[in-house]
């Protein structure tokens, strides 16, 4: 579903955010993309979404080679990737229903079909009674669930979440992560960028560890993340507080 071959991303200021990364994520898989700040997690997501372009290497996403993808084909790539951001990116002037509906409206679906599907997804994430609420009336967890609903409403084969629990308390984080696991159980490939070791240990899925742009580990949390479960690894995550 997602393949990277010797991918390097270098920004205009000379900083290499990803260096020679090779990785394969299978269809329906759930992976945690982890590492300290500046490890290259967000750049990884931006490359998948074609927000940025790799300087070297090849990226294949949902059957498309991004290095030869034309600019006008980018929207069609993005329709295959639902995305959830740490800051939710909800539109404050639209209610919950309209925030979710936007992902279907761009496909030009009839209003009736949009309505049916949005209500179905809101029910799935437990927000059906908040359809008419404005985003600023909701808690952080609820906002993130709206963002998840928007990301999956068009049934994309891939869901990418960049620090989806970054602004949430531990209980809500587990709740959100469980929702993402449920989505994966329906066959969606899920990539979650996080540095929350507790969550990785708890959910026990494959972890891809990045540091300073390099892919340094790839495996189960017990193998990839040294130290006792539930503790943050001192060496790798020491930059988090900076």
């Amino acid at each position: 579903m997602i393949q990277l071959f010797h991918v390097t991303k270098r920004y205009a200021n000379g900083i290499e955010a990803l260096r020679d990364v090779t990785l394969r994520i299978h269809e329906g898989e759930f992976i945690f993309l982890s590492g300290p700040s500046g490890a290259g997690k967000t750049t990884f997501i931006k490359l998948l979404m074609a927000i940025e372009q790799a300087n070297e290497g090849e990226i294949l996403v949902a059957g498309r080679n991004l290095s030869v993808l034309r600019k006008n084909a980018i929207p069609y790539l993005r329709r295959n990737i639902g995305v959830v951001w740490q800051d939710f990116k909800l539109l404050s002037n639209r209610n919950v229903f309209d925030n979710v509906a936007i992902a279907l409206e761009v496909l030009g679906l009839p209003r009736k079909q949009v309505r049916r599907r949005v209500l179905q997804v809101l029910e799935m994430v437990g927000l059906d009674r908040y359809a008419k609420s404005m985003p600023h009336w909701l808690s952080g967890g609820e906002k993130q669930r709206v963002a998840i609903a928007r990301a999956i409403v068009n049934e994309p084969p891939i869901l990418v979440a960049d620090e989806p629990t970054g602004n949430l308390d531990p209980d809500l984080s587990v709740e959100i992560m469980q929702t993402l696991m449920d989505i994966q159980a329906r066959g969606t490939t899920v990539v979650v960028a996080t540095h929350d070791r507790g969550l990785m240990d708890r959910f026990g899925q494959r972890v891809v560890l990045l540091n300073k742009g390099f892919l340094i580990e790839d495996g189960s949390p017990g193998v990839v993340l040294p130290g006792a479960p539930g503790q943050t690894d001192g060496r790798l995550f020491m930059e988090e507080g900076n």
Binding site: L91, N93, A103, V106, G108, L109
Partner: protein, 303 residues
């Protein structure tokens, strides 16, 4: 999932455009006013030009020349004069040849029924050729030589002209030409400023919606989808702006007509808004709105 229909797409675009307007009504209002004010200036200039030209044309109608021919003039001699006139660029086509009988008939008609009955046998008729000079050819003085040259033709008895007013007309023509040129340059400047202001106002609307545009791009909206509501907004602003402008120009021209008609000595009837001008203003307004939208959204999406 069902494929999108044109109807649902159009409804969605219209709804999004309406949301834009509702979110920033002042911006839309400023765009409408910018377009309206620009078109009023252009429209008033057009109004002045149309009536200036009309005034000129009506005055040039007096600039007619009648060539009286001898009673016994033959066909060849007439043809020779007509052929000369045909080659003169200053002469408006068609020239009119009247036989003695036709000239008499015309004189009878001009006299009115009663007088004509009284003078029936005394009304004269003489073969003649009538023509008018073209206003645009008054720039050169060549036309002055025409009566003199005509007198040299065999069969020509006399030439009656009103060329003494030509000098005044030439000054008027020069003034109209100058106004036309100045106005044309001014119109270009006004329209360029209007495009710039519309562009700037719609750019404000685009920036006000940048969060929304970012989300739309992330969920896979095409540039066309993002642009469409702004185009609709530009179209509607242009349409309303031009309708306003047409109403203002029509009111001003009608008021002017009322006031000028009270001045008897002017004997001037102003042309009201011609249909062609209405269409031009309407099209111009819509084009201004669309162009302003296209430039501002296009620039934002490229950045």
């Amino acid at each position: 999932m069902k494929s999108p229909s044109l109807m649902s797409q159009s409804t969605l675009v219209a709804r999004e455009a309406w949301k834009n307007v509702r979110a920033a009504p002042v911006v839309t209002l400023v765009a409408i006013m910018t377009i309206a004010v620009s078109l009023v200036m252009v429209g008033l200039f057009g109004f002045v030009m149309i009536n200036g030209q009309k005034l000129m044309d009506s005055m040039v109608q007096d600039l007619s020349v009648t060539v009286y021919l001898e009673q016994g003039v033959n066909k060849e001699e007439v043809e020779e004069v007509l052929s000369y006139l045909k080659d003169r660029p200053e002469v408006a086509k068609p020239t009119r040849f009247l036989t003695a009988a036709q000239d008499r008939q015309r004189n009878l008609e001009l006299l009115g029924e009663e007088l004509a009955r009284d003078l029936k046998n005394d009304v004269p008729g003489q073969p003649c050729i009538e023509f008018q000079l073209r206003s645009q050819d008054l720039r050169t003085e060549d036309f002055r030589n025409i009566p003199k040259r005509l007198m040299e033709f065999k069969g020509v008895e006399s030439v009656q002209d009103l060329l003494y007013i030509a000098e005044d007309l030439r000054v008027l023509l020069a003034l109209i030409e100058l106004t036309r040129l100045t106005g044309f340059i001014l119109c270009i400047m006004i329209l360029a400023a209007a495009i710039f202001f519309t562009f700037s106002t719609i750019k404000l609307a685009v920036y006000a919606r940048q969060d929304e545009i970012e989300v739309l791009r992330l969920v896979g909206a095409t540039n066309g989808f993002i642009r469409a509501p702004f185009y609709v907004e530009g179209f509607v602003a242009g349409l309303i702006g031009s309708i306003l402008a047409i109403a203002i120009v029509a009111t001003i021209s009608s008021q002017l007509q009322t006031h000028l008609s009270e001045v008897q000595s002017l004997n001037l009837y102003l042309e009201q808004m011609p249909q062609g001008m209405t269409v031009w203003l309407l099209g111009g307004g819509v084009l201004l709105g669309l162009l302003g939208s296209a430039l501002s959204v296009g620039r934002y999406l490229r950045s």
